[in-house]
Amino acid sequence: MTSTLEPELGRARKRKEDARLITGRTRWTDNMALPGMLHLAILRSPAAHARITSIDTTEARRMPGVQAVLTGRDVADEQGSLPCAWPITEDMKTPNAPSLAVDEVRFAGEAVAVVAARSAAEAHDALDAIEVDYEDLPVVLDLDSAAADGSDLVHEDLGTNRSATWTFDSAEAGTGGDVQQALAEAEVRVDRTFRQQRLIPAFMEPRSVVVDPTGDQFTVWSATQVPHILRLMISMTLGVPEHKVRVIAPDVGGGFGGKLQVTPEEFIAFLLARRLGKPVKWTESRSETMVSAHHGRDQVQRLSLSAKRDGTVTGLKVELLADMGAYLRLVTPGVPILGAFMFNAIYKFPAYHFSCTNVFTNKTPTDAYRGAGRPEATFAIERMMDELAAELGMDPMEVRRKNWIGRDEFPFDTVAGLTYDSGDYEAATDRAMQLLGYDELRREQAERRQRGDVVQLGIGISTFTEMCGLAPSRVLGSLSYGAGGWEHASIRVLPTGKVEVVTGVSPHGQGHETAWSQIVADRLGVPFEDVEILHGDTQSSPKGLDTYGSRSLAVGGMAVVSAADKVIDKARKIAAHLMECSEDDVEFSGGSFGVRGTDRSTALGDVALAAFTAHDMPEGVEPSLDADATFDPENFSFPHGTHLCAVEVDTETGHVRIRKYACVDDVGTVVNPLIVEGQVHGGLAQGIAQALFEEAVHDEDGTLTTATLADYLVPSAADLPEYTTDRTETRATSNALGVKGVGEAGTIASTPAVVNAVVDAIRHFGVQDVPMPCSPQRVWRAITGARASAATAPEAGGGTGSIDGSGSRGGAR
């Protein structure tokens, strides 16, 4: 066996996954077809809040091809309540969450009936024949009013729309001082309220699930990020023994948190398959995705920051209202709480207070969306640092430099109770400023202001950090999360020396097959091509906690490393036995075991064959080289970076054009720079989209009016800029690979950079904020002083997305 010449770690390997994806040889869930399979279609409520007074399915049952029509009442005894795994407080109010509504619907898009038919078209036809009578109930939409006493209620039986309030106070926790005192003694105080608009994850592959009940086990294929969690939850909720359920996540077309869910539709499909004894498939239309797959963000953020006149920050108080939507899904309540640890960001706040109240409204439930709690926190604090700079008349970068943790201060215990292990904010910032041409653009900005140019320039900064590698199990336990944060891996060295790696993480576009192959090739000294990665099937990969929270490499990758090290340890014993030497004299490098001081050696493949035949094993050593490992991180990892955005704002039209976007990310050691760059690009696109384009808008009845990709404004290539990216590298000390995670960095960092730039461009008009998305209308209104209306004017299709690509180029054309 030959070893690879070039080290695998850090190598820009092109992806193994691509071969099937660029040729159409893919395994999407919707591609599945099984003998006798029935197709499901789901009838959804058009009303945001109503009592179901009657459902008549008689006509629908007679329609061609229809095999069954079920309502919530039909399955009320067996459907249970959809799981919420994160009770953030002991007194959290958790409503019953049926997969099919029984008596009442609480958001427009909630499932009320399901048809099983021989074809998808026949199933959809039959939906039209189902008659449902609704009696309208008061619709609760606005977050502030929903949280107020005396509001109409989403769940009458709970007696309130407030699900829970979670607080952290540095004085109580012993991690810092008293915020009230800091605010009272402030030389400068900045108070702001920001609105994190509601977003839709908008993964490209619509959700799909196939359930086959015909074997000894139920086999479930689902377009999910979390096959292991899904299996556990099906078992715990639907009363089927866990060992009788197998879940497979085949090729999954993106998730971004949107497929980190145990969905009503998965349960409905399971119930139908169990009842009918036939395989069933449900694949949603995009229109269904938009209204029924969970949404993200949606917070009102009230912040108060105190500082000295010289710019030194002295305290930060954060009060959030977070919109849960109508029900608590898998990790809904915990999403805003993840942000609790990140509002202090990279700055040395001596006092910090955080409180978040989770509130029900008659809207689609929210849950994880790329970054989950951390983009919200980063946005707010980075906006606040710019506001503080404006208040003090300082350069916003100088304010940051004055307050951030110096490179010599790591490890650093933060006021929020975390320990940042490593980082170098100076290095990333200096490089980013150079890439952007910061000083030059500041000069141009001054010059444009001076001459009152119609097109004003703004520069936005985001010096962010985030917590990744979810998560140390003990920390999750302290936050009352329902599971641990470990990850598992197995390595099987086959008799021919080829290697199978089983991982518990569940990729859906990230490129784990490539990156994991590189790690194992590097560790075991085998060719990259000789490594096969197995994942996403609870049968072949029985243990795992799946993919989200930038955890796969920092936690799952480490499990792979540990398993590889166990393989080598075992192989060393066998090699020593074969070469008749002491184990202490055996060195492993480049895929071979050599005897120190001699030219004798034996390759890993030869040891694998010897372990397979097992004719001559050392005393007490079992045949085979296979090894399992579970890694539970001791700490989170903390990627950071400096993102800079220069925008041109047309002050006559309010149009924003990104002139340059430059970012330098420090994600620790890099396994594959190609994949890392791709993750940054994609993250930037989503973060920029939040700043400029996307918003889930509801009308006064609670109907989603941005219910297509075009109305919601998922940006096209014509809407987005070229990004200039670079990296600095400080190793994470919390794992042996030194990796930090990169899946969410771009999304977390970019939104405030863009909005800060927009505000910076028009601050001299007296503008302190532009609500997201910064559509031309809102920017123009902010400039012209019509700020009150700008703050309350949601616009479906009001931005500059795919509808009019030329419009978004603005001044350039």
Partner: protein
């Protein structure tokens, strides 16, 4: 039910179809050509792009009966004799895909774009792909890939140009041209 005959990726299929059947559903459900995917129901996403008699169309906006007698090329029919089409190769080389769900449509639309404009600049690529959404890549590497493919396919780029170690042997300019225009 009307009977239609379509030639998909070089194979002829004759079937009775319901008049309302969309081409993409005919391809996926009847013919098993599941390489072409459905990403939305409003023709915004472009994931379902195929070539109909050499022109890119969104197969979700074409009825199967409209394709009667037509030649259709899908993502599954691009590679010849085990060799990737230069656009496929360029998507791989430039890491222009992540989850890969938009990729079939992106590649088919890129081919159409390059047939019309063999040497597009960055802005022309961005505008040419405006009807195809990607949620993973942020588009930068897709733009790179299309421009890379344009360079590879340009007449005279020739077989001598070795793009990367594992890039298959280049095809001749005329081969490439004919594929673009008459898939």
């Amino acid at each position: 039910m009307p009977r239609i005959t379509v030639n998909v990726d070089g194979t002829e299929y004759t079937d009775d179809v319901e008049p309302r059947t969309l081409l993409v559903h005919h391809l996926r459900e009847r013919l098993g050509k599941v390489g072409t995917v459905v990403g939305c129901d409003t023709s915004n996403c472009g994931a379902f792009t195929v070539h109909l008699d050499g022109q890119s169309v969104k197969s979700c906006s074409v009825l199967a009966v409209q394709a009667d007698g037509c030649e259709i090329t899908t993502i599954e029919g691009l590679a010849r004799d085990g060799r990737l089409h230069p656009v496929q190769q360029a998507f791989h080389d430039n890491h222009a895909l992540q989850c890969g769900f938009c990729t079939p449509g992106m590649i088919m639309q890129s081919l159409d774009l390059l047939a019309e404009n063999p040497d597009p600049d960055e802005q022309e690529v961005r505008e040419g792909l405006e009807g195809n959404l990607c949620r993973c890549t942020g588009y930068q590497n897709i733009v790179r890939a299309v421009r890379d493919a344009a360079g590879q396919m340009r007449p005279g780029a020739g077989p001598a140009i070795e793009h990367t170690a594992d890039t298959p042997q280049q095809r001749t300019g005329s081969e490439q041209q004919s594929e673009v225009k008459q898939p």
